[in-house]
């Protein structure tokens, strides 16, 4: 292999990678927070309301889960403004896409979490005279969260990896930074030698951190 390693350019432009990594984590975090609101609302609609509401939730979930994320990113960034007659930044558009996308996955997570809340617990709430709303807020939702924690951490990690797709609409996250260095300095292999551990170490660090939280709070069997 006739290749001379030269990391000088990588370190010179390292801020692009470091800032990119932080932006990736932020995009994933904002998206999962919005996705959790969407997911929780729709999971409750699905569990507590009639078949028409259920059908609408199913349409949302299936249509987002069965289409490539890349297509959704293009659709929201190029497609929607073309007919809506408005514009938004690439970051905003990506966060909208990833929130809707993670929402579709989290509906399923929260729905099975709500189903797994022991019936005896809800009956106990009834027995001590809690109203349906109080049972929801003080019994069902907190228990559901503790059951869903492992799936939530997995979703966050996979969203963190999905943020690499934001590079196609020029959001300056980690993969975009890598491509920029790649095209401007041609230190191709060095870039990958540096960003691969950045993705791996960050991903596994988050995983270990979240597993600690799970050990503290999670209940029920991991599926």
């Amino acid at each position: 292999m006739d290749y001379h390693f030269n990391f000088t350019y990588i370190w010179r432009h390292f801020d692009r990678l470091a800032n990119g990594l932080v932006l990736s984590l932020e995009l994933a975090l904002i998206s999962i927070l919005i996705g959790m609101v969407i997911g929780l609302t729709l999971a409750l609609v699905h569990t507590d309301m009639g078949w028409k509401a259920r059908a609408l939730v199913a349409v949302y979930v299936e249509s987002l889960r069965n289409v490539p994320l890349l297509l959704l990113v293009y659709l929201v960034f190029y497609g929607v403004p073309s007919i809506g007659g408005f514009e938004y930044s690439a970051e905003t558009s990506f966060v909208i896409t990833l929130s809707l996308y993670s929402g579709a996955y989290l509906v399923e997570v929260f729905r099975s979490g709500l189903d797994a809340v022991p019936a005896g617990l809800i009956e106990a709430g009834k027995a001590i005279g809690l109203t349906p709303w109080q049972r929801l807020v003080h019994v069902r939702i907190p228990t559901m969260f503790r059951i869903s924690l492992p799936s939530l951490s997995n979703t966050y990690i996979s969203l963190f990896k999905d943020t690499s797709i934001a590079s196609v609409i020029a959001v300056p996250e980690l993969t975009y930074g890598a491509q920029w260095i790649n095209f401007n300095t041609f230190r191709i292999i060095e870039v990958y030698i540096v960003i691969t551990p950045m993705y791996l170490v960050t991903g596994y660090a988050i995983l270990i951190g979240l597993r600690q939280i799970e050990n503290r709070f999670a209940i029920g069997v991991r599926s």
Binding site: D2, Y3, N66, P68, L75, G79, S82, I165, Y192, G203
Partner: protein, 215 residues
């Protein structure tokens, strides 16, 4: 809307490339992934650790980075791949790691007494594997595996970014002519949806078909 219909033959060409890539990736990853999954479950430490490291390494990196690396990185190391091959190599490497985990999970779901019983009646290892473990494990393997096939079909859209004219890039090219993104994106979304939805429905149906074996 008219443009969407007129561009349909072009989209179909792209769809064929998407299906072709998906089929190649799924087949190769099935063979290698199952072999590595068996190695991970029954191999000695010398075999187990490299497989474990491979799987955790690949699953920790975004697929897009793998695709870019195969296309831009490997040529710098002296391995020139055209975009189609680079796409297939990257997606297969990624898919293998999922098949490894599915295989391991399916095998471990079989009670170890089965293996011991087969040993007790004097079957050699390969016969224990193919006649005793696999026929039982396949029910646990199929539903999640079909889901990864659906994932492969969706994930293949990323190959458009290194210039493979699959359904995704065919759509982009049509839009480059018509300047009307919405009809084409929706047409493409429907095509992807039909492929994936039929696969995930199959997976779900199979899961309920095999649910009687839950302990």
């Amino acid at each position: 809307m008219k443009a969407a219909f007129e561009s349909l033959p072009f989209l179909v060409d792209g769809l064929l490339v998407t299906l072709q890539i998906t089929a190649i990736v799924v087949l190769i990853s099935l063979v290698i992934g199952v072999a590595m999954g068996v190695a991970l479950t029954y191999g000695s430490a010398w075999i187990r650790w490299p497989v474990r490291i491979y799987s955790d390494f690949i699953r920790g990196i975004p697929v897009l980075v793998l695709i870019f690396f195969a296309y831009y990185g490997l040529p710098a190391m002296g391995l020139n791949l055209d975009s189609f091959t680079a796409a297939v190599v990257a997606l297969t490497a990624f898919k293998i790691s999922h098949v490894i985990e599915t295989t391991r999970g399916a095998i471990q779901s079989i009670h170890h007494g089965q293996m011991e019983a087969a040993k007790a009646i004097g079957l050699p290892f390969w016969q224990r594997l193919f006649s005793v473990i696999f026929p039982q494990a396949v029910r646990r393997f199929l539903p999640p595996w079909i889901n990864t096939v659906a994932d492969a079909a969706k994930g293949s859209a990323l190959v458009s970014l290194i210039g493979v004219v699959d359904l995704m890039l065919a759509m982009q090219k049509v839009i480059g002519r018509t300047f009307e993104p919405m009809p084409i994106y929706i047409a493409g979304a429907i095509i992807y949806f039909l492929i994936n939805y039929s696969l995930s429905t199959t997976s779900r149906r199979m899961e309920s078909r095999f649910s009687y074996i839950r302990e």
